[in-house]
């Protein structure tokens, strides 16, 4: 029985981590046109610990992408410098969308495992019925 609660627990941690990743991705996408915005990147790490020794997943500290900001030529922009350029964000929409799709797939896989563990334990419980 505790195997199943471990399985549910781990699946939940996976769901949480993936949805947090999705949250940061949507922040990046929403700020794609914000001048000076650096895209946030988030990674995962296994959290060993506790007496059960199972590897829950959690998100690591958020880092910001230190690559060059895009320089956009627009002399009419209020933040433009003498040359008529201003710094945009370094968000690449293509990368963000692909990453979001991957997060969605992983989320679905975790959800499926949760569903299956639940079904297995409820089958076990139904042994008690006559």
């Amino acid at each position: 029985m505790s195997d199943f609660s471990n399985a549910l627990d781990v699946s939940i941690s996976g769901l949480k981590a993936q949805s947090q990743r999705l949250r940061h991705l949507s922040e990046n996408i929403a700020n794609a046109d914000t001048p000076g915005y650096r895209r946030k990147t988030v990674s995962f790490e296994s959290e060993y610990g506790g007496p059960d020794g199972i590897a829950r997943v959690q998100t690591s500290r958020i880092r910001t992408d230190q690559s060059e900001l895009e320089r956009i030529y627009d002399p009419a922009h209020p933040m433009a410098d003498e040359g008529g350029h201003y710094e945009g964000s370094n968000v690449n929409l293509l990368i963000e969308i692909a990453d979001a799709r991957e997060a969605q797939r992983s989320y679905e896989a975790n959800l499926k495992m949760f569903e299956q563990s639940r079904k297995m334990s409820s089958n076990l419980m139904s042994l008690l019925q006559k």
Binding site: D3, F4, A7, G14, V57, S106, F114, Q116, M120
Partner: protein
């Protein structure tokens, strides 16, 4: 009482093994995007059955591999799954493979519970209960 009957013992061992495998697979899937995570798996049920010490408790089979009897609830060892492809971030979880193993675990669990249930039914009818 029920644990003295070989059939129940074997069914119990298989159900326990499948439950533990489900938990391990859930762990792998939750960590599918964790850099550096190595996929884990259990020893196959037939292998843990073969290590049963007491010779009198081995089921007699006309062909090897026909009956996989595990009478004792032998300790379940978690091993590192080898020979899996590795991603550039040194993660060796493949979602497709894990889904396949999850289905295996579910089927094993269902099979064990079905055997257990039918054994219970036979016992009940021998007691004259409806």
């Amino acid at each position: 009482m029920l644990d003295r009957i070989d059939l129940f013992k074997t069914a119990f061992a298989l159900a326990r093994h499948s439950g533990a495998r489900q938990a391990t697979i859930a762990e792998n899937i939750a960590n599918a995007d964790t850099p550096g995570y190595k996929a884990k798996d259990l020893q196959p049920f037939s292998a843990s059955a073969a290590t049963t010490k007491d010779a009198s408790q081995i089921m007699v089979a006309t062909r090897s591999g026909h009956l996989a009897g595990a009478h004792q609830a032998s300790p379940i060892n978690i091993i590192e799954a080898r020979g899996r492809s590795t991603n550039p971030n040194e993660n060796s979880v493949s979602l497709q493979e894990e889904m396949l193993f999850a289905v295996e675990a579910k089927r094993g669990h269902d099979r064990a519970l079905a055997i257990y249930k039918s054994g219970l039914r036979i016992l009940r009818s021998s007691l004259g209960a409806k």
